[in-house]
Amino acid sequence: MKNGKLVRITAMFFVLMLCFTILSRAADQLSVAAVTTERPQNRMIEHAVRTSGKIVQNQELAVTTLPDQRVTAIYVREGQRVAKGDLLFEVDTTLLEEQILNQEQEMEKQELMVKDAKSQKEVSAAQKANSQAQAAEQYSLSTKQAGVQLSRAKQQLEQAKKKLKKFRKSAKSGKSGNSGGGEGDSDVEEALLQALQDKTDAYVAAQGELRALEWEIENAVYTAKQNAINGTATLTAQGRTFTGAADTDDTRDTESVAMMTKVEDEVKNTWLAVNEEKEVENTCLAVGEEEDVEDTCLTVGAGEAEIVPEAIDASESVLVDETAVDPVSAFAEGGSGFDLDIEIEDVTGQLPSSQESGNDEESNFGAEIGDGSDYTLNSDMGSTSGSAENDGDMIIDDPVNQTEPQTPKAAELAQIEQTVRANYSQKLAAAQKKVSDAQAGKETAEAALVKYQQAQLAANDSLNTQTAQQLASDVQTAQQAYEDAALAANEAAVVSGRAVAIANIADPSNSSDRMNEISYEQMELTLEKLEGLKKTKGKVCAEADGLITKINIMTGEKTLDTTALLMADLSKGYRFTADITKEQQKYIGTGDLVRLTSGDGKQKLEDLPVESVSADENSEEIYHVTVQVPEDSFEIGRNVNLDFVRKSETYPVTVPLSALHLDEKQQPYVLVVEEYNSIMGTEQRARKVSVTVLEQNESYAALAEGAIGSETEIIVQSDKAVDNGSRVRVG
């Protein structure tokens, strides 16, 4: 290659290199951020609080009138100034007079209702006392009657037996020569009689148990229903208290339960007394087997007093375990000595001998109450099937009861009753089965006895046969009568005891008279107001100097229950009120002197002290600031601007806020310019310096000394994003 060509190539190479040098430098400069720097300044941080608000009155007056009055004329408009006594509006006096008349009539009605209620309350109290007395009387009557019936049946039975024995004795003595097996026959008959006696005892006992179980079921149903009602009564109690009537549901329940318990105890005691006699009878029976029946029974019944306490103990122990069932079952046991002597005079002696009402009547009454209607009466006091003495109260109570939506419905109560009855159904069936079994056993024993007696009679001569048959039939009839009497006595005691308990259940509380009185008083107050308005001829005037701010009524329309007019009370002065942010709230406080400027800037008030700065009730970010303004400076409702500047102490290092940045950990930093040597020569780059911000406003931030000197150039602006280490060019 020629040297000339080589030289040209070399020259070209260097020219190219020169071009690329220029190009690469140009490209390089494009990536360098041009920044503006500033040195930290020594200055104060000013916090300006600027907000706009309104001038409002210090106090507002509400002008009200009675509701439902027709407005005939309104003499003011919103924004109008009024003086004290100025006519504001007028209402229709004709309508007013009509209302006054109506009110007076209503009051008269109310007065009558108060009287009625009081009278009804007295009547119902008297009726209640009467029904209680009746029930007590009925109780004593029915128990006495039952006792008398029982003793009568017993006497008849005894007589029949005596006759039979007498006849047999005479027959035996007549035949003793002919037949030696007479004693053996008598033993057989005794054994059969004894078997019949046992079966009868079992039957009566089973009957008693069944009765007791029925009573228990009824009691359980009553308790369940009562609980259901009480559960809701607590809720309704509040409503009643509001109307001023004292609620005595709980007291009532407690009383009724106590009363029931008391009656049950009485019933128990009665049967305890009977039971004592029964024990004596049992003793009689034991003795009677060995010796002469007639004599021994009387002797033992009167004389063997030491046996009685044991019998009482035994009965009591049973009574402790069970409730109302025990006296019944005890009686059933005691009633076993049908063919023996019973010393029942002690019991019957305490009862009056009146026998006007028959057993049938009592049984019917007992059945009527025993079928559950008494509990229906308790749970549904408003029903007319209740006792007559409560009628007056019930009528007055009706509105109260109707306002109790929580009261269980009849269907629910029926369901509760069904559930309780279902729980007992098994027991009841068992008891019924036992009764039927016992009855069958008794009938079998009776048949066996009859058969034996017939066989024996057949053996005897035909003359005696007819007489003996007659006598045996008498005994049997008498025995059945005695059984019936015992059962009737049992039932009469239970049923009439229950009637006493029901009669003693307290009446529901009744405060209707007081409620009516209260209504009357309220009406009286309204009437006074109406008459007051009538006196002023239906005119409503301003009570103070003020400015009408709102009118809620319209001419021709009726007034409502709300405020008719709102007016600013000018005598109490004005104030400026505005909202500021939480941030602004830091720099303004009570007593700070602020400047108020009207919206158009024409009116200015300097150095007015801030009256209060308070937080908003709903938002944490909003505060209310108020400033009292002098009278006649700004009008009410005018928009006014507030200006206030809080100056801080002088800080040696303050930088423009644009120079402050936050890193990923939210720590503040600034970027300073530093020079460094590179291949390109001395270049400038940004360096991150972490700082502590002492205070800042929307323009400047005061930094803690130390991190930055007063000569440091701080980047405040750049044309590209600059970070730590970025090359920069100070423009």
């Binding site: 080589l6 070399t10 190009l23 690469s24 291949i679 390109m680």
Partner: protein, 283 residues
């Protein structure tokens, strides 16, 4: 015929050797056109210490001019160093010419007491490596407050003994008769030096110049030791600044660095060969 065959056979090992010697140039040339990822793949065992051996293909897998464009358009630093290198090299070249040529002429053509001692000193100094001279040079430069300037690199090289020694040999080769004839014609010392000495010793001057340029173009210890300011660094220090992430840029820079030296060598190849041959023949 047999002789010709033997000669051809003898070329084979020579070609092989030439190939081995040329391989680094090929290495640099292919690297310029490789993508960054490709370079990282091949050189990772060397540069990052991962296991395995570095490999090198004869041709790039995905040829690109990206590295070259990046170097030429986006690396102003490269050009700063390039021009620094050129400045240093040219200054050294001029200096060696200004001071070395008269020195070599004087040693070759004048007789004076202690001439042999001076020659010996020149040879000894020429043989001494930079590491030996570094400290004394540093101290001297520091005393002259020349450290961290280009003069610290240029001046010691200007007064280097090697070009003087090369040119001394050339000047020695000029026949005394020519100089005698000139003197008879009335030429003075300066006229003889400029009109006879330099033209006749041009081959030596050029060859020493080329060698000197190549040496100063590639010098690395001196700038590294005496220059702290990066903006003064020559191109030889650009490559140590390059990491694996910019290895493509490094190959491009190496390639560009090769171009001026190659052009100069090609320009002075004739003189260089002459000079070396002349020196050899003289010996």
């Amino acid at each position: 015929m047999a002789k010709k065959f033997v000669r051809e056979i003898a070329y084979l090992p020579l070609i092989l050797l030439a190939g081995i010697i040329c391989f680094p140039v090929l290495f640099a040339a292919t690297g310029v056109f490789m993508q960054q990822w490709e370079l990282e793949d091949y050189l990772a065992p060397v540069l990052t210490g991962t296991e395995g051996m570095a490999s090198w293909p004869l041709l790039p897998h995905a040829p690109t001019l990206r590295s070259l464009v990046e170097l030429l358009l986006d690396s102003p630093q490269f050009f700063v160093m390039f021009w620094n290198s050129l400045k240093i090299s040219l200054c050294i070249l001029v200096g060696q010419t200004v001071f070395g040529v008269p020195a070599a002429w004087g040693l070759a053509r004048f007789e004076f007491p202690g001439k042999q001692a001076v020659l010996l000193l020149y040879i000894v100094l020429m043989l001494m490596p930079f590491q030996v001279l570094m400290l004394p040079q540093y101290l001297v430069l520091d005393r002259f407050r020349l450290l961290d300037t280009h003069a610290a690199v240029i001046l010691p090289a200007v007064f280097s003994t090697f070009p003087v020694f090369i040119m001394y040999r050339f000047f020695c080769g000029i026949p005394e008769a020519i100089l005698e004839a000139a003197r008879i014609d009335g030429a003075g010392h300066l006229q003889i030096f400029f009109r006879i000495g330099i033209p006749l010793g041009a081959a030596g001057i050029v060859s020493s110049g080329i060698l000197g340029f190549l040496e100063s173009w590639n010098m690395i210890e001196q700038p590294m030791t005496f220059l702290k300011t990066k903006s003064l660094w020559p191109l030889s220090l650009f490559l140590p600044e390059i990491g694996l992430a910019e290895v493509g840029l490094g190959f491009a820079a190496a390639f560009m660095m090769l171009v001026p030296a190659l052009l100069l060598f090609l320009s002075g190849q004739e003189y260089l060969e002459q000079g070396i041959a002349a020196a050899a023949l003289k010996e």
